[in-house]
Amino acid sequence: MKQHAARNARAVGRIVGISLAVSLLVCAHAADAQDEPATRILDREPFDRITLDAANGNTVLDVLSLTPQDRAAVTSLKPGAKIRIRLLAQTDKEFELAVSSIAKEGNLPKVIFFEQFILHEADQLVMQGKTDAAFEYIDFLLKKYPNTAGLEQLLQAYLYTDAGLQFRAQRYDEALAILEELYSQNPEYRSTAQVLGTVADKVIEGNVGGQNYTAARKLIARIDQQYREQQQAVVTKWQQQLTQMAAAKRDEARRFLDAEQSRAARDASQQMMDIWPAIEGAAELFAEISRRYPLMVVGVTQPALSDDPRRIDNWAARRTGRLTERLLFEFIGYGPEGGQYACPLGTLETSEDGLQLTLRLRRSGTGSDPTSINGYDISRRLLASADPSSAEYQPAWSQLMAGVRVQDVMEVQIDLRRPHVLPPALMQMRLEPAPGVAADQAGFGPYVLQERTETETRFIRNARFTAGTTAQRTEIEERYFADPRDAVEALRRGEIDALDRIPAHQTERLQSDASLFVGQYELPTVHLLVPNTKNSHLANRTFRRALVYGINREAILNAIVLRGVSAAGSRVVSGPFPAGDGQNEALAYAYDETILPRPYDPQLAFTLIQLAEQELAAVAEKKGEKPPPRPTFVLGHPADDTIRAACDAIVKQLEPIGIQCTLKELPSGVTADPSGECDLLYVEAAMWEPAVDARRLLAADGIVKSEDPYVGLALRQLDVAKNWRDARLRLHELHRMTHSEVTVIPLWQTVNHFAARTTLRGVASRPVAFYQDVEQWQVAPRPLQE
């Protein structure tokens, strides 16, 4: 019964969730809900039916439910007793009725109490197979009249009928749950035991057919434990079948192992363990293969088409960039004053006046290796980043660096024109192979790309990479899931070892799974709409403000992104920088909390659109041109389930204020729109170090390509900030300016989580990037699951 109630509660929750979302999204005025006509007995005022004796003409009286005292007097046929009644047809008047005037049926008074009406109605509904409707009646009786005679039988009949209905609808899981409840109440009820076996067989068959062997094994174990005597046949049948299947995979894995076909052996052994890990030799074989060919499978919902650890607008490229590339300085977390950076090659010292940096490279792991990096290689990278003709040119670094010189091959001294708050943030430069070494043979990351298909990307160990590694590094396979629900299920089933992003509403569920470990990324991502200012409407700041007022960001965040789940740190933002998450406020140094997000105000949005178009018309008139017609805007977004739903909601919200949008989904893994076809582009930005990322996002050559002179000035002033106080002030100024100019349409920030099986060891609990400590990761052989 509990399970059934939970099912109904879930259904109700889903409906409420959907209707809430719909009402919020389309910004429509909700029509007044019409009350259902109160024809059901359940909805009527409780009443009892009293039949008087022949002396009183066998009159039937429908009266308001008797008080407990009067009820007791009636049922006991107390001689000389009188009861007070109110006729349903005339409730404002009370009458006295002698108990002796009530007709008798045998020794009982001829009275039908309200609960008996309900019981009868429920019974009828059950017989008609209307179990959903009957549930309300039964639930009512259980709560209000639990001692009603016949209720227990009705409940069992209801469960039996409902199980049959679920079975016919092929909802075997639910049928089984209902039958188990019925069995617990009355094992003898009709053919419950037999039916339970049949349904369990179907459920296991479904699990096996869907390759959800873990669930199948768990069910077999439970059936065996709880109903061994009655269900021996089912248990034996499936134990044998799964054992045979696992044995076939075991033999297959052995053959592949002998043939040194590592990948096939690994896949076969994985399947063997998944199907029936208890078969003879399975654990040893799996351990052997894991030892010889360690592999970690990572589920991803955004495939990486390229690897670039510095991309702030492409989560996937940034993720895999950590595998294939190392940077001269890498962001590893936050300290009291902005980001903390580590150099994988050595250590950095800063002079007291902040005008000289000394980078000392470690000698280990270099030697005669032609791919090793020395001070001259580093100096070339530093100079290239300051050279306007170089592809690696960084204006901010060029502005900062005065000169570079190498001492004793392994020491690089860098002179700065002025002190800077975070020089390493500007030194996140790619390490290039030494001259004469082919790039594909000299990757500086711990992994090199082996194969990239639409659904899988495989990375193998980089034999040349030695820094900070453990002896046993696994190979990594990234498996793409278009639907995050499939990815979560794959993780639960053990098909993948980790999932780099999990939907917010799944976090709690996965945290409760003892076989999984859920971690939170150290830093949130900021979600934005980037306007294409080549569109004359979007070039108008008043129009851009109208868009902000016209999008109910709070509702979309709560109803669609978070699905009603409370997630500390996920919130609507007023600018492009990360705000505090309640735990680590240091990361919010660029965010000015006094600048509040604009509220949802569709009327104001509508008014501002009219104002903006007046401005556009005035400009056009000056030029002797016609005012630009309001176009249908193209909203581009990455191929992501949640983002797709959020963009769909945005389109629906803008429609009532007169803004038509069409959605354009970018190809899987693509996050940019270099062709400029999109008028608005959804960007999820990892603005982890606003002091330097602000330029990457907002500058004329950045992601936003802003030509706004005020923003440009604020960026230049930020570039020359000499201390943290100054930098913070400049960033707050930039926040204020981007808020005022709506350089981007800020949506919200989300704190993000990942999940991994507990067999994956060495994963930090709050990493910055998914593969941050990948060199330390180890996949332990999976324990046998029963």
Partner: protein, 472 residues
């Protein structure tokens, strides 16, 4: 020394006679040849012989006669010993003073060409550089590469011809038009003569101020100013003046002031334009917008923004002359005519506009917020009146209370005052612009955030409440 015979002098004389209506000075200017001197220096190398020196001198003189005809009277000679080694070592660094020290009469003519021939492992280089004597202006070094020594004489002349810049004298100006007269223009009889100037050519004006003896007291190229030839009638040129200055050329400077202009021959290279702040020592102006105007259509296109060094690369165009506009946040700060390739780098001094732009950003931000408030008030006023009409007075009350929480005229005035205190510029012009920004915004605030709107709504609501109370 080879000297061109003065046969052309007769022609000049006859033309002078024919042009009886013109003044004597004008006739001399127009109908006398350029007095051209060419100094040739060969580097000490076995292949560069005395014979070759003679061949070079002869070739230059002979070909000048053919190509320039009467327009040139060229005297070609070996470089004076004092100049020889200087020319070979650093042709591009030689100064006017060094030239006059070597030969005190060197500047008596119109043009002096220094020609240097050098040998290197890849062959020979011929380099030539012009010194315009009237304006003391050096041209850029023209270099030609030669593999065969036999080609050196011919290439030497070609280098000299390429280095040649026609000279004009500006006779009068009116608004944006200048009338100029081409030196030796009356002697040029062939359209293909390199001494000729044609419509579309670009000239760089130079002012020369003389002392009583006619010696130059000051020679100054007019900055950020060029002439673009519109039309030519014989030796008379009509030119558009493109300048970053208001009155770049004055023809009323007296008899001792002469306005010349030299034809420009830029290299096919970009020029790096650098903006630096006026009044400060090399403070670069980063992020300023540089627009380039198309001289034919007058349309302007954004060339780019100056980088952190305050520089931007200006590539050459077919029109040679580019008129650049410097803007910051839409504010026009300077007009800079420039010929890319004429100089590798040019520095312009422009007012530092950062403070004004920052003030404009702050004011714009307040204006945006102010506009939203005005719109919100209007929207709420409509909604309140609708509620009053619908007799939903409680709702109207709530909305009115909400409306009262919106920023008021006083709030915006206070914010404007606070922000205004942040911006104090030492530059009067900048401060004036900043003051205008704040004053205009304050006026708008007074006009559009009229407190009487709320007062009026309060009265309307109060009346409606009274009516409702009076109705049984």
């Amino acid at each position: 020394m080879l000297c061109k015979q003065t046969a052309t002098a007769a022609l000049a004389w006859s033309l002078l006679v024919l042009s009886a209506g013109t003044s004597g000075a004008q006739s001399v200017w127009e109908y006398s040849s350029y007095d051209v001197r060419v100094w040739v220096a060969l580097a000490p190398a076995p292949e560069l012989t005395e014979r070759l020196q003679q061949d070079v001198e002869r070739a230059i003189a002979q070909q000048a006669e053919v190509v320039f005809a009467a327009a040139w009277d060229a005297k070609v000679a070996a470089a004076a010993p004092k100049m020889h080694s200087e020319m070979i070592a650093a042709l591009d660094l030689i100064t006017v003073e060094e030239v006059t020290a070597a030969d005190e009469n060197a500047l008596r003519g119109d043009k002096l060409y220094l020609v240097v021939i050098n040998a290197d492992p890849l062959g020979f280089s011929v380099r030539a550089r012009e010194l315009d004597c009237a304006t003391h202006t050096w041209g850029r070094v023209i270099e030609r590469r030669v593999r065969q020594p036999a080609h050196i004489p011919n290439e030497s002349f070609l280098a000299v011809a390429e280095a040649f810049s026609p000279l004009v004298r500006i006779e009068k100006t009116k608004e944006k038009i200048a009338v100029a007269r081409l030196r030796a223009g009356g002697l040029i009889v062939r359209d293909e003569s390199p001494a000729l100037i044609s419509p579309g050519d670009v000239l760089r004006p130079i002012v020369r101020t003389n002392d009583r003896l006619g010696q130059p007291r000051g020679i100054q190229p007019i900055p950020w100013t060029f002439l673009r030839v519109n039309s030519r009638r014989a030796a008379e040129l009509e030119c558009d003046i493109h300048s970053g200055l208001r009155s770049p050329i004055s023809t009323r400077g007296g008899r001792r002031t002469e306005n010349f202009a030299l034809g420009v021959h830029p290299a096919d290279q970009p020029t790096e334009l650098k903006l630096q702040a006026r009044g400060t020592e090399s403070q670069p102006l980063a992020g300023y917008e540089i627009y380039s105007q198309n001289l034919e259509t007058s349309d302007a296109e954004l060339l780019g923004l100056t980088d952190w060094r305050g520089t931007i690369s200006v590539p050459p165009t077919e029109q040679r002359l580019r008129v650049l506009y410097v803007k910051n946040g839409g504010q026009l700060l300077a007009r800079l005519p420039l010929v890319p390739g004429l100089e590798p780098q040019q520095t312009a001094t422009v007012a530092d506009d950062a403070q004004r732009l920052e003030a404009e950003g702050v004011v714009t931000s307040l204006q945006n917020s102010f506009m939203d408030t005005v719109a919100q008030r209007q929207v709420m006023a409509v909604r309140i009146r609708k509620r009053i009409t619908e007799k939903k007075l409680d709702e109207a009350d709530k909305l009115l209370a909400e409306m009262r929480t919106l920023p008021t005229q006083y709030d915006y005035s206070r914010m404007l005052d606070q922000q205004r205190q942040r911006f104090n510029s030492a530059d009067r012009n900048t401060q004036a612009k900043i003051d205008v920004l704040f004053t205009d915004t304050r006026l708008a605030v007074s006009k559009y955030l009229d407190p009487s709107l709320i007062d009026g709504l309060t009265r309307e609501l109060s009346q409606a409440k009274n009516q409702a109370a009076a109705t049984p």
